[in-house]
Symmetry: C2
Subunit: 332 residues, 2 copies
C-alpha cells in the first residue's frame, strides 16, 4: 500500500526519469529525494494550488498526451495567475497503466513546454502504476499581503474580463459533434480548449491595481458569482458590454458558451474606475483584450452575478456553470 515508485528504480523508471527530469535552476533540491526543497524569496509568500485530473472524467482516455501535459500544468498556473502570483514550481503525481515511451515522450514534452514558457521548475513528484490519473501542484510567489483574493471587491468597482471566454467550450461542443464550427474559428477554439494560456503576466500586473480576481474555470456567470459571494457584493454584468461574439456560430450558442464555458482560463477582476486608463495601457502592452463588462454593487441578498440587458432588466439565467458533482458522468 501507498508505495512510491522511486525514479532511481530500474527498468520503466529510468524511462520515466529520462522524460521528466530537467534542470531545475530555481530549485534548491529537485526530484530524487524524499522532498523537493524550495526557497521563496525574502518578503514573498507562497501561493499553492492542487488539481486532480482523472481519465474519463476530466479528459478522454485517448486525449492527445502532448495537449494533456500542457493543460495539466496550465490550469494550475491559471490559479496562480488569479492570485497575481509569479509561477515558480510544480510537483507532478502521475498514475500510469503502462510506461508507454511514446505517450511519456509526448506528455512530458507538453508539460515541459508549458513549464518553460512560464518559468516553472518541475521540482518533484510521484509515479505509480494504476489508471491514468494526474495531480499537479503548482507553487508561486507573491509579495506578502499583496495577493489578489476573491473577497476584496468593493461597491462601485468596475468588473473586468480578459480575452474571449467561451471559445474553448465551443471547441468542446464541436468535438462532441453537437455543433459544427467553420474554419478558422474551429482551429482557434480547439487551440483554446487544448492549450489554454494562463494569464500570468496579466495577473502580476493587476496586483497593484485590482481589488479582487478569479480565473474562469466554471464559467463567467458562475465564477463572477463566486467573486461576488466572497466579497459580499452583487456583480452586475451588462449584456451589451460583453466581448464580441465569434462569427460563424449561432448567437445563442456562442452566448451560452461565453457565459457558462470555463475552459479558457481567462481572468475576471474588479478595480476602481480610476484604473481604467492604466488597464487600457496594460491591455495594449500585453495584447490581451480587457473588457469592462460590469460593476460591483453594494451588499445584496443573496450576493451573486446578474446579467443585465440594455433596458436595465435582469436576464433570467438557468445555468450558471455546472455543479460538476451532478453534471459529470460517474465512472463507478
Amino acid at each position: 500500500m501507498f508505495r512510491k515508485v522511486k525514479p532511481h528504480l530500474q527498468n520503466e523508471f529510468d524511462l520515466i526519469a529520462r522524460h521528466f527530469h530537467r534542470p531545475t535552476p530555481q530549485t534548491r533540491l529537485g526530484p530524487g529525494d524524499d522532498c523537493a526543497l524550495l526557497s521563496p524569496a525574502p518578503g514573498m509568500e507562497l501561493a499553492a494550488t492542487s488539481d486532480l485530473l482523472v481519465s474519463g472524467v476530466h479528459f478522454l482516455p485517448d486525449a492527445d498526451p502532448g495537449n494533456l501535459g500542457w493543460k495539466a500544468l496550465a490550469v494550475n498556473l491559471s490559479d496562480l495567475a488569479a492570485m497575481g502570483a509569479k509561477a515558480r514550481w510544480a510537483l507532478l503525481a502521475l498514475s500510469l497503466p503502462a510506461a508507454d515511451e511514446n505517450w511519456l515522450a509526448a506528455f512530458s514534452a507538453g508539460f515541459h513546454a508549458c513549464a518553460r514558457q512560464f518559468g516553472v521548475d518541475l521540482a518533484g513528484g510521484d509515479t505509480t502504476r494504476g489508471p491514468l490519473v494526474l495531480c499537479v501542484t503548482a507553487l508561486g510567489e507573491v509579495p506578502v499581503g499583496q495577493a489578489l483574493r476573491r473577497d476584496g471587491a468593493q461597491a462601485g468597482d468596475d468588473l473586468w474580463l480578459s480575452g474571449h471566454p467561451g471559445l474553448a467550450a465551443l471547441g468542446l461542443r464541436h468535438l462532441q459533434g453537437e455543433i459544427v464550427l467553420p474554419e478558422p474559428l474551429c482551429r482557434l477554439c480547439l487551440q483554446r480548449l487544448h492549450a489554454p494560456v494562463p494569464r500570468l503576466s496579466l495577473g502580476e500586473m493587476l496586483r497593484p491595481l485590482a481589488h479582487a480576481a478569479i480565473d474562469i474555470s466554471d464559467g463567467l456567470m458562475a465564477d463572477a458569482g463566486h467573486l461576488a459571494e466572497h466579497s459580499g457584493r452583487t456583480a452586475e454584468i451588462f449584456l451589451h458590454r460583453l466581448p464580441r461574439l465569434p462569427q460563424g456560430v449561432e448567437r445563442a450558442v456562442a452566448l451560452e458558451a461565453l457565459l457558462c464555458g470555463g475552459d479558457d482560463y481567462e481572468l475576471a477582476f474588479t478595480a476602481s474606475a480610476r484604473q481604467r486608463s492604466t488597464l487600457a495601457q496594460i491591455a495594449a502592452q500585453l495584447d490581451i483584450p480587457l473588457w469592462r463588462i460590469g460593476r460591483m454593487c453594494a451588499d445584496a441578498t443573496p450576493p451573486a452575478a446578474q446579467l443585465i440587458d440594455s433596458e436595465g432588466k435582469i436576464v433570467p439565467m438557468e445555468k450558471q456553470g455546472y455543479d460538476h458533482f451532478h453534471a459529470l458522468p460517474s465512472l463507478a
Copy 2:
C-alpha cells in the same frame, strides 16, 4: 474538462466543505480561493512532496475511510520527517464516486486527527467526481541549507534505523490470509499498517546530527540502497545488529518483512560515530528504539546496501523491495 468543484457550490459541496474545512491558524489564506497563501518563516526553506493514492492499487476499495484519511496524510508527512522538516501545511485533491456522508465524515476525521497531531493545516485542495483517488501534497519548513538529504552519507558513518520496520508488512500478509498472526502481535501489526506514525520529532532532532536520511517506504534494503546510491557509498547492514524479530511468527517471514516491508515509514539515517551517545539520549527522550544496524563504506561499484552475516559474508538477497511498476496488479 478540468473542472473543479468549488467548495462554495451548493448541495454535496456544502457537505464536503463541512467535513474538510477546519480553522487554519498558520495559513494566511485557507480553502476557498484560487490558491492557498502560506508564509514560510524567515530563514526557512520549504520541503514539498506529493503522493497519489488510487483505490484498488494503493488501498482496497473497501478500506476503512478513517484509516485511509490518517494514512494518506501520514505517508506524506513521513517524507517531510526524512528531510528533518517541520510539517506545516497540506493540500488534498480528492476524486469521489459519490458524496457519501458517512464515508466523508470518517475519512475527514482520520485526516484531521493526523493533521492535528502533527500541527498541519489543511490549507486547500480540489474535489471532483470520479473514481476514488486522492493526492496529498505536504509542505514543511526547514532552516535553509539544513535539510537531511539522501546524498550526504560519509564513509565511516554509522547506519541507523528507527522502530520496528516489518510489522506493517506482517499485518498486510495477515489480512491477505498468507500468515496467521497471534494476538497481541496481530493488533500491533495492523495498527502499524493502518495508522503509521511519521517520525517528525525524530527527523527534526536528527537535523544537526545526521549526514543523510530516508524514510523506509520501499523496504529497508531498497531504501538503504537508495541512500547509499545517492551518496556514492555502500551501506553494510549487519544481520546480527538488526532489530529483534517479533515472537509468534516464523523467523524467515519476519526477517523478510523487516528487510523488504516498507509500510511502517520508519527512518534510516547515517551519522558519525561521535553522535552515538547523543542518539541514545534522543531514543530515550522520544521513546523510539534507534538501532545501529550498519555502516557506510567508501565508494563502491555499484553503490548499494549489502546484508552481512556474523562471519562477515554478504548474504545474497533476491528481493530488495519491490519494483512496484512490475509488482502491483494493473487495473487496466
